[in-house]
């Protein structure tokens, strides 16, 4: 199985602070991590490689420091990694990001499956996976919580997708792109051997010159959307009213009355 995993290095959003005066994100000192959903994508690719043989290649578009995210993937067991980094890629929205990733995947060549996380925890868009699939004109299966069958000979895949109503069982053909949810597996920790390999591995960096891309379609230039304003959301109004009473029963009665008075219970 030739698998390609697209990952993103993200700031750990639990550590993101806001500059109260300027209302901007303070990103200095915030640890960078592999997007948590992408670790499930890496794990799933590795598990299927262990079953079926083949190779797992991990790619990431980002600044030079995103190299450390790729090394983490190698430490987990990925065979190869490629960094897409070029000032010309900067400012890419989901369209331009998908366009660039797709160009890199074309350059890598043949593949059976592309694995992506459901979304990145910084942007939370979930649009890049479908974007890459559409750019490559392959099928997409999003929100996958289980790969039930994978048949490389027959070029068939059967998955369960986590949709609002339950789990949808879907069959499709290879090559295809899947985006995975957290439920799919439990990502492994890097092994000592993996960490050693990650220290030694030379990860190539591809720039726009290495890819067949139209300079008008990458980075900020190629991005249809523009962020025009960033602000911190207003704090929640709700000053918490704590139910005070002599007994739990009375506290509960008091709360029940308040909730009924809010006219939200029918």
């Amino acid at each position: 199985m030739q698998a390609i995993v697209c990952i993103k290095q993200v700031p750990d959003t639990t550590e993101v602070k806001i500059d109260p005066e300027r209302g901007t994100l303070i990103r200095e000192g915030v640890p960078s991590i592999v997007n948590p959903f992408d670790t499930y994508a890496i794990e799933e690719a590795l598990r299927w490689k262990e079953k079926l043989g083949g190779k797992v290649t991990v790619i990431s578009m980002g600044p030079p420091q995103a190299m450390s995210a790729l090394k983490e993937a190698v430490a987990m067991g990925a065979d190869e990694a490629i960094l897409l980094s070029d000032p010309a890629f900067a400012g890419a929205d989901t369209w331009a990001t998908a366009y660039t990733l797709a160009a890199a995947i074309r350059k890598i060549g043949s593949f059976d499956l592309i694995f992506c996380g459901r979304q990145a925890i910084d942007g939370d868009t979930g649009q890049v996976g479908p974007g890459v699939a559409t750019q490559l004109q392959i099928n997409q299966l999003t929100y996958v919580c289980k790969i039930a069958k994978l048949d490389l000979e027959q070029k068939k895949i059967e998955v369960e997708r986590l949709v609002e109503e339950g789990k949808e069982v879907v069959q499709s053909t290879l090559p295809c792109l899947i985006t995975v949810v957290k439920d799919i597996n439990q990502p492994r920790y890097p092994t000592i051997l993996g960490i050693r390999r990650a220290q030694k591995i030379q990860i190539p960096t591809w720039t726009s010159k290495d890819l067949e891309v139209d300079p008008k379609l990458i980075g900020l230039n190629g991005s249809p959307t523009r962020v025009v304003k960033i602000e911190t959301p207003p704090a929640r109004q709700g000053k918490c009213q704590i139910m005070q009473a002599e007994s739990v029963e009375q506290q509960a009665e008091l709360l029940a009355e308040k909730l009924i008075a809010e006219k939200i219970i029918v």
């Binding site: 959003t13 989901t94 939370d124 490559l136 109503e165 069959q171 960033i230 959301p233 709360l255 219970i265």
Partner: protein, 399 residues
């Protein structure tokens, strides 16, 4: 239609391109000239292989700003499952109405499905002026390819200025594909939409960084301006069955044999409630101490007619399935009432529920961060508080 363009007089019939086509879409005809069939996906693998440059793909259209005026009207995709429209679609129809009025234009609904004409009529009752109805067995159950191709063709034909889709799993899946095909801007999971004074552009407001910031996004030079919209953000309009509107029937783009994906089944968990759509959610966390703890959560949810949610801690411990997880790595919910029981309220959990209308916290730790965002709280042992609340509500609601 295959995207590939073939210059017949340049083709020498060498057959190099045949070997590289991943889809078996190419063949030599009787005159030993290459032909392309419907299996062609426009991947372009063959183009550089051709020594005589006989193969090409159309250039991606770069829109001139003068074209933008040709795009008019507000569109909403009406999501349906099993012949029933999802409520988020009507919320968007309500919001779309308001935006259409601001732009002095009409509101169009796109209904894709099978035997979906009742949904088209419903869309008019909720506020659509016009409905594009694509009614075909291939569209009965949502699948990316046939749905995306249909919407892409409709957009190309009728050129809307604004196109809204729900930020559901299907809506996000679909919007990502459609916007990529069209090369236009798409903003995910908006919680606010406005028309900018002067420019008349759509201002798309959305949370990012786990809800730590709100970003306003514009799409100036591309059309339509596309956005997916979070559920329960906009008011549900009141339908008017007497409302008049136009239903225009359109044809699907793909035949069944051109669609690679089959939906085989839907596995529904016993007592599964869709937390994304629920008006009331009772959630349990680490404080429940075990899977049995969810019994009292279920009892309270039943009295309220609500759904059961959970924190990541409870899901990771295996007490309840992931489908119930609320928060950054689970689902984002926006119910009228969210009752957090034994949930401390870590920022990742808050990212998934902080925009709920009323938040109630039940926790034994008065310092738990959940109380900072809650409207009402009880500090106490949830194993006595939750059953007491269930009893009190049962009594007061005469259940």
């Amino acid at each position: 239609m295959a995207l590939l363009e073939i210059k017949r007089d340049a083709c020498t019939g060498c057959g190099l391109c045949l070997q590289v086509c991943p889809f078996g879409a190419l063949a030599l005809d009787a005159e030993n000239i290459i032909t392309v069939n419907e299996a062609c996906t426009g991947c372009g693998a063959c183009v550089p292989e051709c020594p005589t440059g006989a193969l090409s793909l159309p250039e991606v259209e770069k829109k001139e700003s003068s074209d933008l005026g040709a795009y008019q009207g507000v569109w909403v995709w009406v999501e349906q499952y099993n012949g029933k429209a999802s409520p988020i679609s009507w919320e968007m129809i309500g919001e779309g109405r308001r935006l259409a009025a601001r732009r002095g234009t009409i509101l169009t609904a796109c209904v894709l499905g099978h035997e979906a004409e009742p949904i088209a009529r419903e869309a008019i009752a909720y506020g659509a002026d016009r409905v594009f109805l694509v009614d075909d067995p291939t569209l009965k159950v949502y699948r990316t390819d046939p749905y995306a191709r249909c919407l892409v063709e409709l957009v190309k034909k009728y050129k809307p200025e604004i196109f809204l889709l729900g930020a559901s799993t299907r809506g996000r899946d679909l919007a990502g594909a459609v916007a990529t095909y069209l090369y236009t801007g798409l903003t995910a999971d908006c919680t606010g939409l406005e028309i900018e004074e002067g420019s008349n552009l759509l201002l798309q407001i959305r949370p990012a960084f786990g809800g730590n910031i709100m970003a306003t996004i514009k799409c100036e030079n591309y059309r339509p301006q596309m956005a997916t919209v979070r559920h329960h953000v906009f008011e549900m309009p009141v339908p008017d069955p007497g409302r008049q509107g136009q239903i225009i029937k359109e044809k699907p783009v793909l035949l069944e044999e051109q669609i690679a994906t089959r939906v085989l089944d839907l596995i529904v968990e016993k007592n599964e409630v869709n937390i994304a759509d629920a008006k009331i959610i009772v959630s349990g966390g680490r404080g429940l101490k075990g899977p049995e703890g969810f019994t009292i959560i279920h009892e309270l949810a039943d009295v309220l007619g609500g759904a059961v949610g959970a924190s990541r801690a409870a899901v990771d411990a295996g007490w309840i399935s992931y489908a119930h997880q609320v928060g950054q790595t689970g689902r984002t919910v926006r119910p009228d009432l969210y009752i957090a029981c034994g949930i401390s309220g870590a920022i990742q959990h808050q990212a998934g529920m902080r925009t709920s209308k009323i938040i109630v916290a039940i926790n034994k730790d008065p310092e738990a961060p959940i109380f900072q965002i809650a409207d009402y709280g009880i500090v106490g042992d949830l194993f006595t508080v939750v059953p007491a609340l269930t009893r009190a509500l049962k009594k007061k609601l005469n259940k």
